[in-house]
């Protein structure tokens, strides 16, 4: 299931030359005026298939190419309307890039796109008692840490597990196991939060 309607065959008028324009285009094919961003999902915006497995350097390439033409710096001497549309475009592209680049945000987002019927309440399983218990134990460990290497040990363990979790999420999505992906994503959320805490603790321990 896809939240974005197929707009590839829709024709809309360009705000500048008033001529026909394929819906979703960033620029008018006739007068080259920048258009307001289309209401499409992050993957469509970057011209990518909805897939958890992302080649980050390819993503960077797509992102840079889009910003090269749409960033407000390209419209510094244009009309107010073009400036506003370029800002809206660049904002939407940044949002898409930021979401797709990060495995946690990406997993969450794909579950939202694909899992509307599977998990009506989204995938908020933070109340999982085993995670809560574990979180308390790790926090005590962090609080007791007396030097950087103690803190780093906690961080390294979390990072190692994250790799496995991301691989597991990928596998779950490939098998269309949204519920499984959801559970792993909850775990990933917990680990991400843990790493944030580690970072804070790290600044306190000298």
């Amino acid at each position: 299931m896809n939240v974005t309607p197929d707009i590839s065959k829709q024709v809309v008028p360009c705000w500048s030359c008033h001529g026909p324009l394929q819906a979703g285009s960033a620029f008018c094919s006739t007068c080259n005026a920048v258009q307001p961003p289309a209401g499409v999902d992050h993957f469509v915006r970057l011209g990518m298939a909805v897939d958890f497995d992302v080649d980050i350097s390819a993503l960077d390439g797509i992102y840079f190419e889009l910003q090269r033409t749409l960033h407000p710096d390209r419209f510094a001497t244009s009309t107010a309307k073009e400036k506003a549309y370029s800002q809206a475009q660049a904002t939407a592209i940044n949002d898409a890039y930021e979401t797709i680049k990060d495995p946690l945000k990406r997993a969450d987002y794909i579950i939202n796109i694909k899992g509307v019927n599977v998990m009506p309440d989204g995938c908020n399983l933070v109340n999982d008692p085993s995670i809560l218990m574990e979180a308390m134990e790790v926090r005590e460990k962090l609080a007791a840490a007396e030097n950087i290497s103690d803190v780093d040990a906690v961080a390294n363990q979390a990072r190692e597990e994250m790799k496995d979790i991301v691989a597991g999420i990928s596998l779950a999505f490939r098998g269309d196991d949204i519920e499984g992906a959801c559970q792993l994503t909850t775990r990933l959320k917990y680990l991400t939060k843990l790493l944030d805490e580690v970072r804070q603790r790290r600044t306190q321990v000298v």
Partner: protein
């Protein structure tokens, strides 16, 4: 009208008016020194004064009538007329009275304290001046230097700000530029500008750190450079850490010795000023010398002070350590370790201090780069960006917001809406709800900073969202959206979802100038403020008319077969009328004729839409339309 209108073949109408190569300058508005540069054909030039120097001391001397002298001349008055001279004003940009209370003892200014709200005001020679006005005087001097050097009146500029400047500091800088008659094309972070100057020069690829220690501010940015894209991954800093602090540490050391030697209980303001200047000279000397002796003459008493480089390093060591610690945090934020960094760029005069170079080298495990003069590199980067923005470019700067933006929630806690190090422009929304039955208004308090409690962060603005229909507690859905533009400036809007009530606020920092204050200053500062405004509106009208003509030209080129000769001629005639209007300077006429062009071409646009939709139904992609129309 007596003028005969020329009629061109559709599609052959010449460009409305030759795009004038208007030069835009790059300005590094520094705490200690400022620099202005210009770039032509990708070749940046630092603009020099009559004395052949590039640096303009950021020092302003005021006469009782409010007239200002900027730069070397003002610096010369620092000792003889200390009460008339203002230096390091950048440290107060965007600061409120409360902010600077803690600094009061250290500041060589007389602060007007009567209004504790709003922007700080200084009393100089009987004039009451805000930091924005004083900075505007520095910018005016830089603009004059550019005007003289380039032989034309420059109106557009890229101005750099410390990466770690908050919204208030950025707004204050933009306001100062407006007062100086400069349109800010973009505010660019200083380390990012420096990276641009380096990266373009060296064709660098990979991860780079920029260590920027100026007179009053410290920034460190982590950038990824890749095929002409300068992507800032993380930035950090301290808006109140710089070479000034080194000077203060040395001055305090000297004054301690002096009071002891002269058996004084305390020292006078004059002694403090002289000690500060001496400290600065000593610090600079010890960059090349191992030790030296200096004399402080004030109030008829002379004292001698010796200082070695080792002693200097002990005095400033903790401050350098603070900067290094910030570097470590920034790398952590960017998820990068020092061995992944390909190069470290030094920016800012204070990176000449040997201890700074040594500690930076040790931390990053490599010799830092300082090939471009650290005092000029930021202005050079700004000039390159000014050219890129006006003439087009293949390079791209992607910068981040340095400090998180959030809202006050129950119990004085901060709910972060936009996290620090998010790439700009960015928009984020957060939903809130009412906590009392029948609540019809909500007070929104915008803060900037990383701490959990509101009062530990910077308060940017407060506004009220009113007219919420009475509902039970928790039923209203209030969506607050933060939009940060490419200058790093924030706009906040709020709307109640179930009723669509909307409230949009241009966030003016709590310590900023109100619109009325700004208007009054504009009137007072520019004799031709009105002309200036009119000129800007006229330029905008021309730009808009040109856009409309270009759009019609493009449409004619693509679809001229849809028109008969008479229709084509009618459109051609109206284009000529708009062009003629653009050559004149009647703004209303330009707008009206552009509007007429829109009316005249409307049937044409309708035909084009019909054709586009028909083609789409037949399965032809719209993008092929232009080739088919020929």
């Amino acid at each position: 009208m007596a003028t005969l209108l020329q009629i061109h073949e559709p599609g052959e109408t010449p460009q409305p008016h030759e795009s004038k190569s208007e030069l835009a300058i790059g300005i590094d508005l520094g705490t200690t020194n400022s620099v202005v540069a210009v770039s032509r054909d990708n070749k940046p030039d630092v603009l020099k004064g009559d004395d052949g120097t590039a640096l303009v001391p950021s020092i302003v001397a005021y006469a009782p009538d409010g007239s200002a002298i900027v730069g070397v001349l003002a610096k010369g008055l620092l000792l003889s007329r200390p009460g008339a001279v203002v230096s390091s004003i950048k440290r107060l940009m965007g600061r409120g009275v409360e902010d600077i209370k803690s600094l009061a003892g250290q500041l060589p200014y007389e602060i007007e304290n009567e209004n504790t709200q709003g922007m700080v005001r200084l009393r100089v020679q009987g004039n009451s001046l805000t930091p924005v006005e004083i900075s505007a005087d520095i910018l005016k001097a830089l603009k004059e230097r550019a005007d003289e050097n380039l032989g034309e009146s420059v109106t557009k500029a890229v101005i750099t700000v410390p990466a770690y400047f908050d919204d208030a500091g950025r707004v204050a800088t933009k306001d100062a530029a407006r007062l100086a008659g400069l349109e800010v094309l973009r505010l660019v972070a200083e380390p990012t500008a420096a990276a641009l100057a380096y990266g373009l020069d060296a064709g660098a690829e990979g991860l780079y750190a920029v260590f920027d220690l100026g007179g009053g501010t410290f920034d460190v940015s982590l950038l990824r450079m890749q095929k002409g894209v300068f992507q800032v991954l993380a930035t950090g800093g301290d808006a109140a850490l710089g070479g000034d602090d080194f000077d203060h540490a040395v001055a305090e050391y000297f004054l301690g010795q002096r009071t002891e030697k002269l058996h004084e209980k305390s020292f006078s303001a004059d002694e403090a000023k002289v000690a500060l200047m001496t400290a600065r000279i000593a610090k600079e000397c010890l960059t090349s010398e191992e030790s030296g002796e200096w004399v402080i003459e004030a109030g008829g008493e002379t004292s001698r002070h010796s200082l070695s480089r080792d002693e200097l390093e002990q005095l400033i060591g903790p401050m350098v350590g603070k900067a290094i610690k910030i570097c470590s945090n920034v790398l952590d934020d960017g998820g990068v370790s020092t061995d992944e960094i390909k190069g470290v760029v030094l920016v800012g005069g204070s990176t000449r201090v040997p201890l700074v170079r040594k500690r930076v080298g040790e931390f990053f495990g490599r010799e830092p780069l300082a090939d471009i003069d650290p005092d000029e590199v930021v202005a050079i980067g700004a000039a390159l960006q000014a050219e890129a923005l006006t003439q087009g470019s293949d390079t791209l700067l992607l910068d981040v917001i340095p400090l998180s933006l959030g809202l006050e929630t129950m119990g004085g806690l901060v709910e972060k809406v936009v996290h620090r190090n998010t790439t700009i422009p960015v928009a984020k929304a957060q939903e809130f709800t009412t906590f009392q039955d029948g609540q019809t208004a909500m007070s929104i308090h915008v803060v900037q900073g990383e701490r959990e409690m509101v009062d530990q962060n910077r308060s940017l603005a407060r506004f009220n969202l009113t007219g919420i229909p009475p509902m039970t507690a928790g039923a209203a859905r209030i969506r607050v959206t933060f939009q940060v533009d490419a200058d790093g400036l924030l706009t906040v809007s709020a709307n109640e979802d179930s009723t669509g009530i909307e409230s949009q606020v241009e966030v003016k920092p709590s310590y900023g100038l109100s619109d009325e204050e700004m208007a009054t200053m504009l009137r007072a500062s520019m004799e031709h403020a009105k002309d200036d405004m009119e000129l800007r509106l006229l330029t905008e009208a021309r730009v808009e008319a040109e856009r409309a003509m270009n759009a019609v030209e493009a449409a004619l080129k693509a679809d001229c077969s849809l028109l008969d000769e008479g229709e084509r001629a009618a459109i051609g005639r109206q284009i000529d009328v708009v062009m003629a209007a653009c050559r004149g300077s009647e703004r209303d006429l330009i707008n009206a004729e552009a509007e007429n062009l829109d009316t005249v071409t409307r049937p044409f646009a309708e035909k084009r839409m019909d054709k586009g939709i028909n083609d789409a139904l037949k399965g032809a992609p719209v993008s092929k339309l232009e080739s088919k129309a020929d």
